[in-house]
């Protein structure tokens, strides 16, 4: 019940920081929204359901965007829901356009803004060829970074530009209209040397940012790891590295590793069950289903779709490793 932080902050601020208030408010709002229906079914039951679904990550299904992006947990839940629902699309091997991915996102969140999808696609495609086809996994990991660390990336872009204009006045910068994203004209010959900013310097600034940033940022140690491998790098180079880094994916905890991306035995089982119900079934599917059925030894977890994928489960990604442990020990 009591964590050190809990004592460090006044109660109200602590609750707000932990987004408890967000959920409280939303719960009351939902209750208000459907009060006739819910009063029939029990208000206590409703609150139980509500907080259970928050824990399971199913509370974001078909919700408005403002709610989905309200907390890191919601974002992670949304990413996970997106992966779970459309994993099959990726499995099928279809390459889709940005717009089509956007449509899929809108199936889960009707007012999902196009801008975010566009930015994610830009990470994958690295340029303006926005009509190009992308693979599911490329898009998903890029989207994860863009969506989850959205505010952080905005700040990073600003820092990047500062560095670029300060240190390398020769580089041509083409700032995009309002997004705060920047692209460079690739210098054809010695792109690697002149493009981008110096990694160490960049890291210093980022570390600084992570310290005071109030939104979620990737673990500084991992950022350091990414930046220590190279001398210089561009903004998009950095984003691509972020999106491909499996440590960051693990730290975020919403999606499985890239290798396991198409792997969700519980859902595959469910899908087989659904396929049987398709009217006038042809037995061709059974052949393909066997492969995916075999490894599903793990017990189905229908009740709790939100299960720790990795060693640590983070309800709030803002807390780093040390507080997490105390959190768990004391509850």
């Amino acid at each position: 019940m009591l964590s050190p932080e809990r004592l460090a902050l006044p109660d109200y601020e602590y609750l707000a920081q932990r987004h408890v208030l967000t959920y409280m408010e939303d719960a009351v709002c939902q209750l208000l929204e459907n009060r006739e229906d819910i009063s029939q079914y029990g208000i206590a039951r409703f609150f139980t359901d509500y907080f259970n679904s928050v824990c399971q990550g199913t509370h974001i299904l078909f919700r408005e965007f403002s709610f989905i992006q309200a907390t890191p947990h919601n974002r992670a839940s949304f990413l996970r829901a997106f992966w779970r629902c459309f994993r099959t699309v990726g499995k099928n091997g279809d390459l889709l356009t940005m717009r089509e991915y956007h449509c899929l996102l809108q199936l889960l969140c009707p007012d999902f803004p196009l801008e975010l999808t566009q930015k994610a696609a830009r990470i994958v495609l690295m340029d303006d060829a926005m009509d190009c086809l992308m693979s599911f996994s490329d898009f998903l990991f890029a989207f994860q970074i863009q969506f989850y660390y959205s505010e952080f990336l905005e700040s990073v872009a600003a820092i990047y530009q500062d560095l670029l204009s300060g240190k390398n006045p020769n580089t041509v910068i083409v700032p995009t209209s309002s997004s705060g994203q920047h692209r460079q004209r690739p210098a054809l010959g010695d792109a690697g040397m002149l493009d981008g900013v110096e990694a160490s310097l960049f890291y210093q600034r980022l570390e600084n940012l992570c310290d005071r940033h109030k939104y979620s940022c990737p673990p500084p140690a991992l950022v350091k790891e990414i930046l220590s491998n190279v001398q210089r790098l561009t903004f998009y180079g950095f984003l691509v590295a972020l999106s491909k880094h499996h440590g960051i994916n693990q730290a975020l905890g919403a999606l499985p590793d890239k290798g396991d991306l198409m792997h969700d035995p519980a859902m595959d089982e469910e899908l087989e069950r659904l396929l049987v119900q398709v009217p006038g079934l042809v037995n061709s599917i059974t052949a393909t289903s066997e492969a995916s059925c075999l490894p599903s030894r793990t017990p189905p977890r229908v009740g709790s779709p939100w299960k720790p994928l990795h060693r640590s489960r983070k309800l709030d990604a803002e807390s780093d490793g040390s507080t997490e442990e105390t959190d768990e020990s004391e509850t």
């Binding site: 709002c29 199913t58 899908l271 396929l275």
Partner: protein, 686 residues
């Protein structure tokens, strides 16, 4: 045509006549076949070649003038005709100069009593030297080379004038021939009927084989009974109703294409015999009964007697024909109107799309501007229209112009297809369609309508056209997969056709599977014309089955209630919005939505709210959220305050307890004094 030399000769000849000086020259070269004493001596032709070239020459010798000799003058003058007295007495009133190879009219002397003169088959180019024959009644100049009607002004008693097969270009110089009975001008080059209005006694006029392009200017011909106009190029006939005695009219082999162009014939009461054969009109199916219907007085048509039966048939059929024609005219009018309206709608749609694009780009920077844009749209629309109308044919455009400017939408039922163009067309779903019409409609096609607007009328569509199985969308701004969710509320859909034009969603690779998945309860047969296969169904399930599963099994119950509740409410609202409040409909609707719940529970949560409604809903929620925030904030603040007090109390409590105990202990330390004190208190109470 006339060689100069020759003309001068005839000019001199005219002089001679006037002087009354007749030069008689007996030519030495007589014709071989002379059997009569007096022969008509021919002038030796100044241009022999000209004679030779005529075919007529062949016949000439055998039929040559019977008892007439022509005394030809020498080179320059006219031949002079003389007849024996025997001849004169025998045929005192007639003279036949057929096939005499005459190139000019001979001077006919001493024959003033002649009543009949025949110059058939000669080469006469000019009518002259007959002005003295004032008792002439019959003048036949058939088959000559006359170019102009002239030299007839003195022949006041002429009744029959035959000028067929000549080279006359113009009807003229007939002013004095008031008694003319028969005028034959066939086989000439006349282009126009003129200068005949004074011929009040004329009974027969033959203008066949001329170059007439039309017939008019016929008034005054009060006695005309027969008018022959065969083999011209006549396209229309007028004035025939001004001919009170006309009985026979021959219009065969002309260029008459419609009955309207000869409609004056219907006014004529005297006509009994008419021919139209060889005209385009005679090929038409309606020809015979139209003519018979309009000209009840006819007794012969195209040389065939008209039977009673024909007349009866004719009186029935044309009515139908007329109706048919009117119908087809109406059809073409409608067609044209449809085309125009569609154009108009398309233009409006185009503008709207452009404005929407501008608005959406501006929206990001500046949310205030769109209303202005929409005003401009109206103005641009109206002004853009007239230039379109200019390209139409006059009749239609005048009929249409009034209508089309206001037409911004079009509703059309063609057999089993209901086509809607423009968003205004959706209002037609409020109309009371007859059960039969509505039942027939199996295909509904939407063009130039925002899909979001269509969504709002879908419940109505379901009720009004229960048999619609095939939906077509073209230029409807379908951009998202989730929009297809809206179609799930319909009763049945067998076929779906989404035209790629104006529907970007069709460019997605997944759209078809999504449709199949979301609308799987319809077991659709065709999408965009291609048969849906089993594999398609499985693929659809494979791709989206998990989505449905997640949506149905993992959605917390309170969300399920609220989403399904919303869907129901939404349908009410769409209905109520335009319908007013009819309790019956609502009842029907509720039972419907119950069924719809049962049909596809695991998909029902995937529904589509139009952007407008969605934003409205978000607005609504905003207020509630605000309230919730304040409420929760108050509660939490109160709770934390209580908690703080509680904690402070908890902190103080041990100390307080100790203090209390200490006080008590101190109080009872000396037993006696404490006892006294207690007793004192008890007595005090009493």
């Amino acid at each position: 045509m006339i060689p100069g030399k020759y003309r001068s000769v005839s000019g001199r000849a005219a002089n001679n006549v006037n002087c009354g000086l007749h030069l008689v020259i007996q030519t030495s070269s007589l014709s071989d076949k002379n059997k009569v004493e007096f022969r008509l001596n021919r002038e030796t032709p100044p241009f022999p070649g000209r004679l030779l070239q005529h075919d007529l020459e062949r016949n000439y010798s055998s039929r040559q003038g019977d008892h007439i000799s022509l005394v030809s003058s020498s080179m320059p003058a006219f031949p002079i005709l003389q007849r024996s007295s025997e001849e004169k007495t025998l045929y005192s009133d007639r003279l036949t100069l057929e096939r005499q190879k005459l190139t000019v009219c001979p001077i006919i002397d001493g024959e003033e009593h002649l009543r009949l003169l025949n110059f058939q088959h000669n080469f006469i180019t000019r009518i002259q030297n007959i002005s003295n024959l004032q008792r002439l009644i019959f003048l036949d100049l058939y088959d000559n080379q006359i170019e102009e009607i002239s030299g007839l002004s003195t022949l006041k008693s002429l009744r029959v004038l035959l000028l067929g097969k000549n080279r006359i270009k113009k009807i003229s110089n007939l002013e004095n021939l008031k008694n003319l009975d028969v005028l034959d001008l066939h086989g000439n080059q006349i282009t126009k009927i003129e200068n005949v209005n004074h011929l009040c006694d004329l009974r027969v006029l033959n203008l066949a084989r001329n170059l007439l392009s039309h017939v008019d200017n016929l008034n005054g011909l009060d006695s005309l009974t027969e008018l022959n106009l065969r083999h011209n190029q006549i396209t229309f006939v007028r004035d025939v109703d001004n001919l009170p005695c006309l009985q026979r009219l021959f219009l065969s082999f002309n260029n008459i294409t419609s009955f309207e162009s000869v409609s004056c014939l219907a006014e004529s009461t005297s006509l009994s015999d008419i021919t139209f054969d060889g005209n385009p009109i005679a090929q038409e199916s309606w020809y015979k009964h139209t003519v018979l219907q309009n000209m009840m007085q006819l007794r012969q048509l195209d040389m065939k007697r008209i039977t009673e039966e024909e007349r009866r048939v004719a009186s029935v059929v044309p009515k139908k024909e007329e109706e048919k024609k009117r119908e087809s005219h109406k059809q073409s009018l409608l067609k044209e109107k449809k085309r125009l309206t569609i154009n108009n709608v398309a233009r409006k749609w185009d503008l709207q799309q452009r404005v929407a694009n501008i608005a959406s780009t501006q929206d990001r920077k500046d949310s205030e501007s769109p209303p202005q844009e929409s005003c401009q749209l109206d103005g641009g629309n109206i002004s853009a229209f007239p230039e379109e109308a200019g390209s139409l044919d006059a009749g239609l455009s005048s009929a249409l112009q009034g209508l089309s400017v206001t037409e911004t939408h079009l509703v059309e039922i063609d057999g089993e297809t209901l086509s809607l163009y423009g968003s205004g067309a959706l209002e037609c779903l409020d109309r009371n369609w007859s059960v039969q019409t509505a039942g027939m409609v199996t295909t509904v096609s939407f063009t130039f309508i925002e899909f979001d607007e269509i969504v709002q009328v879908l419940p109505k569509l379901k009720m009004k056209f229960p048999n619609s199985l095939h939906l077509k969308f073209r230029e409807t701004n379908l951009v998202m997969l989730q929009q297809f969710n809206a179609l799930a509320q319909l009763r049945r859909v067998d076929q779906l056709t989404i035209d790629p034009q104006g529907n970007p969603v069709v460019n997605f690779t997944l759209w078809k599977y999504y449709v199949l998945f979301r609308l799987s309860h319809f077991s659709m047969q065709k999408i965009n014309g291609t048969e849906v296969t089993q594999n398609d169904m499985i693929m659809a399930e494979r791709l989206f089955g998990i989505l449905a599963h997640v949506a149905s099994s993992e959605l917390p119950q309170y969300r399920m209630i609220s989403i399904l509740g919303d869907a129901r409410k939404k349908q009410f609202r769409y209905l109520l919005e335009s319908k007013g409040k009819k309790p019956g409909i609502i009842c029907e609707e509720t039972s419907d939505s119950k069924r719809f719940l049962g049909e596809n529970t695991n998909r029902a949560t995937l529904n589509y709210t139009t952007r407008e409604f969605y934003h409205e809903k978000l607005e609504e929620i905003k207020d509630k959220k605000k309230f919730c925030r304040l409420y929760v904030e108050d509660l939490v603040k109160e709770a934390t305050a209580i908690n703080m007090k509680n904690e402070a109390l908890q902190k103080l409590w041990p100390q307080m307890f100790i203090e209390l105990v200490r006080d008590a202990v101190i109080e009872i330390r000396s037993k006696d004094s404490y006892m006294k004190l207690c007793l004192q208190q008890i007595t005090d109470q009493k």
